[in-house]
C-alpha cells in the first residue's frame, strides 16, 4: 500500500497541526542547531529529524506500506510547527542519534534496518510506556515510535490495513459505521 502526502495531510487534519498549517507551510531547514550561530543545544535539525523518523518508520511500519519518506516528511512538517511538541521531537531525536552514534557509530538514519530495530529495543522504547516528560526510553516511545504509529493508524490508509476506514481521530463522516465490510 502506497502512502502519499495526501495521506499525511489526512493524518495531520486528524491530529491537529497547530492552527491551519498544511505541510507546504513548513520551511525545511529551520529549527535545530544547524545554522552557524545557533548554540549546540542538542536539538536535532529539520533534516536530522526527518531522516531519523523516516528511518524509524521503515522499522515500525508494516512491510506492506511504501511511500514512507514523503508521508513522514509531510506529517512532520505539520507537527514541528507545534512549538512545544516540535521541541520535544527535536530533543528526543537528538538524544537518539547521540546514542546511535555511541553504540553503532552513526546516526539512526545511517544504520541498517536490523540495527535500527536493535537500537530502539536497547533504548527500551519497545517496553516503555510513552511519556513526553519521562526517561529517554519513554520519550523515544512518545516522540518517535508512537508519533509515527499515530500518524499511520489515525489516518484512513493505516486504518484500512486493520479494516477500519474511519479510525478514531479521523473525521471520516457518518456513513462507514453503517456499512458492512466494503
Amino acid at each position: 500500500m502506497e502512502l502519499t502526502r495526501r495521506d499525511a495531510a489526512a493524518a495531520l487534519a486528524a491530529l491537529g497541526a497547530g492552527g491551519a498549517v498544511g505541510y507546504a507551510a513548513h520551511e525545511w531547514g529551520s529549527g535545530g542547531d544547524d545554522s552557524p550561530d545557533a548554540p549546540d543545544d542538542g536539538l536535532a535539525t529539520d533534516e536530522e529529524v526527518r531522516d531519523a523518523l523516516v528511518a524509524v518508520a521503515e522499522v515500525v511500519y508494516p512491510s506492506a506500506v511504501s511511500g514512507i519518506a514523503a508521508f513522514v516528511e509531510s506529517f512532520l512538517a505539520g507537527r514541528l510547527e507545534r512549538e512545544d511538541h516540535g521541541r520535544g521531537v527535536r530533543e528526543t531525536v537528538g538524544e537518539l542519534d547521540e546514542l546511535a552514534s555511541e553504540w553503532y557509530d552513526g546516526p539512526v538514519a545511517e544504520l541498517d534496518p536490523e540495527d535500527r530495530d536493535r537500537l530502539l529495543r536497547e533504548v527500551g522504547a519497545d517496553v516503555a510506556d510513552e511519556n513526553p516528560e519521562g526517561t529517554t526510553a519513554e520519550r523515544v516511545r512518545y516522540y518517535v515510535v508512537n508519533e509515527l504509529l499515530l500518524a499511520l493508524y489515525a489516518s484512513p490508509r493505516g486504518g484500512e490495513l486493520v479494516g477500519i476506514e474511519n479510525p478514531q481521530g479521523h473525521p471520516g463522516g457518518t456513513d462507514t459505521y453503517q456499512r458492512g465490510t466494503p
Partner: protein, 540 residues
C-alpha cells in the same frame, strides 16, 4: 495548549471584578447554569455567571483529542481536571472516581460527556407509588413534558419517535435520528428471535447542521472531546448568554454564600490573582453539579444555618445516587465494524417498566465501540512493524457489547459531605463522596447481565467480559444531594427548585432529583433548568 506564561498574561488582562446591580447570579457554567443564564439574559435581565474553572480555547480541541487517544494521558488530563483544586475523598463502601466524572470550566461536564439524552419514563416520577420503593417526585412527567420538548430544541437532539416503551411525546425531535449501525443490524436479528425490540437513541449531537454548529463528521472521540462541535456542550448556552449581555467570569470558584435568614446576599469568589470578591444579586442559582452544589451549601454555614445553608432539613448532601453500569461483551467470527464513531445508535427500554421493589429499571445500550480502537492498541505493546499489524488485525474487528444503565435507590448512608481533614488549594474542605449502592441495584445489574448474555448467546458470540455486580462502576451522573419535595422537613428544594429556606435561591441540576430512574440525566437537568428560569422571571 497555552503555556503558563500566556495564561498569566491572560489572567492579568481579564476583568474578574463583580458586576454592579446584577439581577441574577448563576454559579456554575455547565448546562444547568448555562441554560438558566441564557434564558434570563435573553429576557433582558442582568446576569452574572461565575465558574470555578477556565474558559477553554476552542482551538485546543484537536490537541485535547490527541490526549484522549494517547496512552500518556489519563482521562482527567484531557480537560485539566485533578490536582489540589479538585482533591476529594471517597470513604463509602464503593470508591467514587470523582475526577473522571466531571469537568470544571465554561461548558462544565458536557465538554467530556457522551451526549445521550432521553426523557425519564412516567413511572420514574412515582417510584414509591408505582414500584413500592424510593420516593415520589412532587412533580409528574406531565409537568415536565413541555420543558422536555423545549430542552430537546435547546440542546439539539437527533432522535426518532420509534421507542414503543418511551413516555408520550407531542412533537418530533429537532433532528432525524442517526441511522442504526452495522452492528445494530447484527443485534436486531438476534433480538428479534428473542422478542426484544430495539429502537433509536436520543443523541445531543447533530445529525445535520443545527443551531450554527456542524453536523457530526465522525471523529469518534465524542467522549471526552468533540473537535467539530457537533456534540452539544454547554458553551453553546454560556455564549448565548454572553451575546445577550451576561457577564461570564471564569476561574472564579465561589467559596461562600453570604446570607441572612431568608435570602442570599452575595457570592464570595476567589480569583487567580489571590483576591476575593463579592457578587451581589437579587436572585441566585446554584448550578455546580451534584457534588459541588451540596459542598458549597455546606461550606456556607452560619449561626442561622449551623449545618450548612438551606439545610434546615439536614438533607443537604444526603441521598447521593449515580447510575450503575452493567455490561457484557464478546467476540463474533465475523467483522462487527466498531469504533468508527463514538456514540450509540440503538437501545432497548423493553425491561425498564418491569421494575418493582426488588429489581429496578434498566435500559440496554448496543455499543458501536466495543473492543479496542486500533489506534489506541497501536500505541501500547512491545511490538511494531508486521508483528504489530498482525496483533491489530487479531484484536480489532470482531467485538460486540451490550451495556446497561441501572437505577440505584436514594439512601441516607450514601452522601456527599465535607472531608474533615483535607482542604483544597484555597483551604476549603474538599468533598467526600461517600457512595453506597444497595442490594436492589446489584440485583438489577444481575438481571441486566442475564438479558445481555441471552442476546450475545443468540448472536453466537463468545462472551469475553462482563461488568457485573462485583465489577460495576458509576456512569458519572451525580444525583439526589439536594432533593426536591413539598415538605421542607423532607427535602431541600420545592417543586420549582427553589430552596425551602431561602426566598431568592434556586438549585439547577440533578442534585434535585428525588430518585434517578435509569436514564442519563442531562435532558431532565435541562428541562428543570428552563423551569427554574421561568420561576425566577416570575419572582423578579
Amino acid at each position: 495548549m497555552s503555556g503558563p506564561a500566556t495564561n498569566r498574561a491572560r489572567n492579568r488582562a481579564v476583568d474578574r471584578t463583580p458586576v454592579d446591580g446584577a439581577d441574577v447570579c448563576v454559579i456554575g457554567a455547565g448546562p444547568a447554569g448555562g441554560l438558566v443564564a441564557a434564558r434570563l439574559a435573553d429576557a433582558g435581565y442582568d446576569v452574572v455567571v461565575l465558574d470555578a474553572g477556565p474558559r477553554f480555547d476552542p482551538g485546543d480541541r484537536q490537541e485535547r483529542m490527541e490526549r484522549a487517544i494517547r496512552p500518556a494521558y489519563d482521562r482527567p488530563d484531557v480537560w485539566g481536571v485533578g490536582g489540589e483544586r479538585d482533591a476529594h475523598a471517597a470513604t463509602g463502601e464503593w470508591f467514587y472516581p470523582l475526577n473522571h466524572a466531571r469537568v470544571k470550566g465554561v461548558g462544565g461536564s458536557t465538554l467530556h460527556w457522551q451526549g445521550m439524552v432521553m426523557r425519564l419514563h412516567e413511572a420514574d416520577f412515582n417510584s414509591r407509588s408505582e414500584r413500592g420503593v424510593g420516593v415520589d417526585w412532587p412533580i409528574d412527567y406531565a409537568d415536565l413534558r413541555p420543558y422536555y420538548a423545549e430542552a430537546e430544541r435547546e440542546l439539539g437532539v437527533a432522535g426518532a419517535d420509534d421507542n414503543p416503551f418511551g413516555p408520550p411525546r407531542e412533537e418530533p425531535y429537532p433532528m432525524p435520528a442517526f441511522p442504526p449501525s452495522y452492528s445494530d443490524s447484527l443485534f436486531a436479528a438476534a433480538c428479534e428471535e428473542l422478542g426484544i425490540s430495539m429502537h433509536s437513541v436520543g443523541n445531543a449531537r447533530n445529525s445535520e447542521t443545527y443551531d450554527g454548529r456542524s453536523e457530526c463528521v465522525g471523529y469518534g472521540t465524542c467522549q471526552p472531546v468533540c473537535p467539530s462541535g457537533a456534540k452539544y456542550d454547554a458553551t453553546v448556552h454560556v455564549e448565548r448568554a454572553e451575546q445577550a449581555g451576561a457577564t461570564v467570569i471564569d476561574r472564579a470558584p465561589v467559596q461562600y454564600l453570604e446570607h441572612s435568614a431568608d435570602a442570599v446576599r452575595a457570592a464570595e469568589y476567589a480569583t487567580p490573582d489571590g483576591e476575593t470578591h463579592r457578587q451581589e444579586a437579587e436572585a441566585f442559582v446554584v448550578a455546580c453539579g451534584g457534588v459541588e452544589t451540596p459542598r458549597l451549601l455546606l461550606l456556607s454555614e452560619s449561626e442561622e444555618y449551623p449545618g450548612g445553608l438551606a439545610n434546615a432539613s439536614g438533607l443537604v448532601g444526603k441521598f447521593f445516587m449515580d447510575h450503575l453500569f452493567a455490561g457484557t461483551g464478546g467476540v463474533l467470527d465475523e467483522p462487527t465494524r466498531q469504533n468508527h464513531v463514538g456514540f450509540i445508535t440503538s437501545e432497548s427500554h423493553q425491561f425498564y417498566d418491569e421494575a418493582d421493589a426488588e429489581v429496578g429499571p434498566f435500559k440496554l445500550e448496543f455499543f458501536n465501540y466495543a473492543g479496542p480502537s486500533p489506534v489506541e492498541l497501536a500505541l501500547t505493546g512491545d511490538d511494531w512493524g508486521d508483528a504489530l499489524l498482525e496483533r491489530l488485525n487479531a484484536e480489532y474487528g470482531d467485538h460486540v457489547a451490550v451495556g446497561a444503565l441501572v437505577e440505584q435507590l436514594p439512601r441516607e448512608d450514601s452522601y456527599v459531605a465535607l472531608d474533615p481533614e483535607r482542604t483544597d488549594h484555597l483551604d476549603s474542605p474538599v468533598p467526600d463522596v461517600h457512595w453506597n449502592v444497595g442490594d436492589r441495584a446489584l440485583e438489577t445489574i444481575e438481571r441486566a447481565n442475564q438479558v445481555q448474555e441471552q442476546i450475545l448467546d443468540e448472536l453466537g458470540a463468545e462472551v469475553t467480559w462482563q461488568a457485573g455486580p462485583d465489577s460495576t462502576g458509576p456512569a458519572y451522573h451525580h444525583m439526589g444531594t439536594t432533593r426536591m419535595g413539598n415538605d421542607p422537613e423532607e427535602s431541600v428544594v420545592d417543586p420549582q427548585c427553589r430552596t425551602h429556606d431561602l426566598d431568592n435561591c434556586w438549585i439547577a441540576g440533578s442534585s434535585v432529583f428525588p430518585t434517578g430512574g435509569a436514564m442519563n440525566p442531562t435532558l431532565t437537568i435541562a428541562a428543570l433548568a428552563l423551569r427554574v428560569a421561568e420561576d425566577i422571571e416570575r419572582s423578579l
